[in-house]
Each structure stands twice: as C-alpha cells, then as structure tokens.
Symmetry: C2
Subunit: 354 residues, 2 copies
C-alpha cells in the first residue's frame, strides 16, 4: 500500500519524537463546513450517506483539503452502525437524534442478541478502503467504534439520552442481562475494528460517549472492562503493524489511572481536565489526545490562540500529545476559527519538540 | 426559636461526632411521592406553587412524615427564583423545562442587570419561616440557591441546556459581560441566602448544577470564585450561629481539592467519584455529602442495600459524611425503594460511628 507522507499522528500515539504536536478534530467532516452542507444536499437519509463509500470518501477528505495542518483523517460513519446491523432498526428523525424501532429491554429479546455477520457492515469496510485509496498516503486513517456500554445505552433506551435510567436499572437489577448485551457487543466491536484494520485503518478509536454517566465501580464493570477486551482483541494491519488504539470516555477524566492500564496506546480527554495534571496521573503509560472545549471555537481567533497556547504549555515539553477538541466540533463553528486553532497548534507547538 | 430534636445532620456537616450517618435526599419533596402528586392537583403553575408558603410547607414535610430516617428538610423552591426576580420572565412549559421570556445576550441588556429588591423574593422567605415553624425542631431546615454560573447559563441561554454554547461564547469572547452577570448574581445570592438564614434556614446549599460543563480553568474563573464570594458573605443565624454551607458542583469531582479551599463546610458529590478517594483528596478540610446514583433506586431493595453498604464502607470510619443521592431523586422511584435506602443508611452506618 501507499507510503505515508505524514505519520506525525501515529508517532505521537506511540509516544515517539515528532517535530510538532499533531492535530485533528473530532467530527472534522461535518456541518460547520459549507462544502459538507453542499454534499449533504444529495438526497438520502443520514444512514444512506454513511452507506455510500463515495460520499464517505468525499466528505472525509474535505477538511484535509481545506486545512493543510490536519494530521489525521477519520472514517466518516456513525457509532450506531453496529446496533443497526444487529437488527434494531435505526433511523434519524429530523432534529430528534437517533431512534431504534426495537429496544433491548425484555429478557427474551436480549437473549436472542448475537454477533451480526460482518457482511451486513461491509459498506463500512468499503468506505475505509475507498478513503484509504483516496488519501494516497497524505495522513493516516482512523477507524472507530462506539464502546459496548455506549452502544448498549442506545439499544436499551431505544434512543439517545443523558440519564439512561432503563439501562442503569438493568445494570443493578439484572446485571446478567446487561452483561450479555455488553459481551455480545464487545465481540462484535472486535470483529468490526479488525475488519476496518484489514480494509486499511491505521489507528482505531473507541468512543465511550456515555461512560461518564456511571459510578466509579459501575464504570469499571460495565464499560472499561469491555474496552479492555476489545483492545486485547485487535489484530495487526495488513502491513503487519500493531494498530495504535485510542480510548475516549467523555466525562471520564476521574478514572484516567484505570484507563491507562487497559493496553490502549492513547486516551482521549474532554476539556474538563487540565491536560498537564492528566499527564502527571498517567505517566508514560499512554499518549493523550485533547482537549480544547469546542465551544471556544465560537469565540475569537485571539481567544482560541490563547487557549491553544495554554493547553500546549500545560502538556509541556516532549512527546505523546495529539491535539484535538474535547468533543466533536459544533455545527456553528466559523470555519476560519477552526483554521485559527489548527494554525496555532502547528506554530506554537514546535518549541515543545526541540 | 424551637430547640432542635435531631441535629445529627448539622453535626455531620461540622465533622463532629454522630451516632450514625445522617441522610436526606435531594428533591425529596417530589413527584415520586403519591402525596406530592395529590398536593400538585391544586391548580396553578409550578411557580405559583413555589410562591405559596402553605404548599411549600405541606410538601416539604411530606417525606419527613413518610420516612422517619430523614435527618434534614430542604426548602421547597426552585433555583430559578433569582432570574425570575431579575425580571427575565420565568415560565415552565409542560414537558419542556424552564423558559425565560428575556435572555441576557446583548451588551445593553446585560449592563442594565442589577441586584433585585429582596422584597420580590419575600415569598421564599415566608416559606422558610412557615416551614421552620411547622418543623417544630424535628430536623434542621436547609435553604438553598443556584450558583452564579448555573443561574447565568439559564439567563443567557433563556432555557435549560447541556452545552451552553452561547454562555461559553460570551465567556471567551466577552468575559467582561459574563463577569458582570456573575458578579451581580453573586451579590444577589448573598442577600438571598442571608435572608433565608434570617427567616430560619439552619444550613445552606449552593447548587452548581452546570459547573461540570466547564474546563478546569474556566470553572475556577466563572464558577468557583463566585461561590467562594458567596460563602464568605454568609451571616450568622438569628441564634448567632454560623450556618454550615454545602457547595455542590455536579460533574465537578475533578476539582474537589480546589472546592475544599473556598470556606464551605461540606462538598456535595455526584456518584461518579468514589467517596473514599474523595475523602482522601480533601482530608479534614470539609465534610462530604453523597453520593448514590439515583438510578439505583429504580432497581431492587437488595441492590440498593448493597450500594449503601459499599458507599458507607468506602467513606469508612468517623465523622463528616452526610449520606445523599448524587442528584435529585427521580420521579419514577418506587417510594418503598427510597425507604430501603434510608433504612439501610441508618442501620448499616452505626458501626462506623463507634
């Protein structure tokens, strides 16, 4: 396969020396970009778009074409492809977020849950191959999945939420049922990420968007343990390399010490934690990815530059930092403000790598 | 005034010896109680109910009448009384949460904001007096307020939210405007809590429901500093006692060390943090209040008892723990499950206080 022209991101994940701090943005192919909104005008639901390798390829490359400082591409897809492949009937209502036609609440339904045939997710692997080819070695391609706990919340609740009362009720009243969902989902995620790796993904990220809703103990039992299984189940790339992995529990900065032990190469950080204290807590065990509040991109280039400088200084000298937002870029971000952040990261980070 | 028959809660807040771990529940006067739903059938909006001293008194006492183990009463009111008194026009739409007719987004509107006359909040102080009288010394009465940051998010956004993009945009682009809102609100909260204390409140709690949405630095600048001002501005009770104060930033357990320095007697904890590690982090500086996930009350008495035992054991021997939920009790809680928690706290906590 094509040789990587810019492997700064991969080296940072492995805590190897780099010339500057690499950067990418969660949800960088998204609605804040006029070219994305233009592409979205083609007919079809959001899932139809995810299922089109051509669309996924086009929009994945848009931020790279606009911003020369971006050091990684991420597969354009959704974390809910797996519950969809499990037959739960995913749809996106306008302004309402995701909905599932079926939920996993009854014991009989839960016990029937099995790992789906990866053929039902072939469209994702096709998108990975297509994007990798189109990238032609510009930057590495990140594959991704939702975490088992996060996917389980959608499958049990049938929709997005913030308090997950039905899922948590199951966690405490019938942990056996929830563990069956989580174990089945974890086995699915292993196959799913390995197929993305086989198709060309050069790093993988596990998004635990809702792990932060759990108590300390419940987080370990219902989320972290399953992410550990997934990391342990990852295979090598077609080139024979171990693929670096990033684990990101939004709202999970209290538990960084435990996250650093599961075998992932890097941890994602949201903006609530000071990245310098996070680095002290995890030591040399993992790289760190983050962690600017995406809301700051709504302010001014001056404020953005100041915050970038603060985060870089807090992390300090040396390797192992991938700059990112602490959550997906919002659709109201002026594209020139994203440019201000990306340029500031590139320019201000070099002194920390001499 | 009437002598307190049960001051266990107040002693725990001051880290003095108690015979057992006192307990109360945030939102304990609420919709999970059939007697509350019955009282609510009387006509009127939610704010009309808050403005009725009789209603506030009746419902504040309902959980005490049902559950003999509860060690504190809390004023029945809403955190949004202050923005309402500031003239922003509060209403509660059915199923929609709070709405304000006006928002604070334009510089001219913000600069006109002033501390409202406490006479416009007299209904709250009347409720405090009425409840205190009806309690007749059974347990202490807690007064409360929202934190300046939390109140500001409602005033700027005009409604509830979770990402507060407009407020954060102001924080970074025009911090001077946000600081004017926060300073005016902090001065209002000081007068508001002191008037509650004068009317009979025996402890006060500051609810920083949305401080956890901020970055580490922004939390200090926009939320914690103003709570520190408030704590410093609290006066003595009519009996001449310093009133114990509790500061609770939901989602703020990363910053407990800083919170422990602001002069509050106790910190509220949500369920994400292990209470034993929280205790180690704050040392002897403050008492801790919390921290069971209210979702667990939807499960079974056995699971509830197990979790109570775990939290008590994690806190360990000695004083300075007030048992509570990590957030308000949900409306779907079976009342007998709340009883199971309260009984377990009373029965299982005694060995930690010998």
């Amino acid at each position: 396969m094509n040789q990587l022209k810019n492997d700064t991101f991969l080296r940072a994940l492995m805590r190897q020396p780099t010339e500057y701090t690499p950067v990418w943005m969660m949800r960088q192919a998204g609605r804040y970009l006029p070219e994305y909104r233009e592409s979205r005008k083609t007919a079809g639901s959001f899932m139809d778009l995810c299922k089109s390798a051509q669309f996924a390829t086009d929009v994945t490359l848009q931020p790279l074409d606009r911003y020369p400082e971006i050091d990684a591409a991420i597969l354009f897809s959704d974390i809910l492809t797996i519950p969809d492949a499990m037959g739960l009937g995913l749809s996106f209502e306008a302004g309402e977020g995701p909905r599932f036609a079926k939920t996993l609440q009854e014991e009989a339904d839960i016990k029937q849950l099995t790992v789906p045939d990866m053929a039902s997710l072939q469209y994702v692997f096709n998108a990975v191959s297509s994007i990798r080819k189109a990238l032609n070695g510009r930057v590495p391609l990140i594959g991704f999945s939702g975490s088992p706990w996060t996917l389980a919340t959608y499958m049990v609740e049938g929709k997005g939420g913030t308090d997950f009362l039905t899922t948590k009720k199951m966690a405490y009243a019938r942990p056996d049922l929830l563990h069956h969902i989580l174990e089945t989902t974890a086995q699915t995620v292993i196959q799913y990420l390995n197929a993305q790796i086989a198709a060309g993904a050069q790093a993988v990220m596990i998004f635990d968007s809702w792990g932060g809703a759990l108590s300390h103990n419940a987080y370990t039992e219902f989320s972290l343990n399953y992410m550990q299984k997934i990391v342990a189940g990852l295979t090598k790339t077609s080139e024979g390399r171990i693929v670096p992995s990033i684990v990101f529990t939004k709202g999970g900065a209290l538990w960084l010490e435990a996250q650093a032990e599961i075998g992932a190469d890097a941890l994602g950080l949201d903006w609530t934690v000071d990245i310098g204290s996070a680095r002290k807590r995890v030591g040399n065990k993992v790289a760190l990815q983050g962690n600017m509040d995406p809301a700051i991109l709504l302010s001014t280039p001056e404020a953005i530059e100041k915050e970038v400088a603060h985060i870089l200084a807090s992390y300090g000298n040396g390797n192992g930092h991938v700059f990112n937002l602490g959550h997906g870029i919002t659709q109201w971000t002026p594209p020139e403000n994203a440019a201000a952040m990306l340029e500031a990261v590139r320019n201000l980070s070099k002194p920390y790598h001499v």
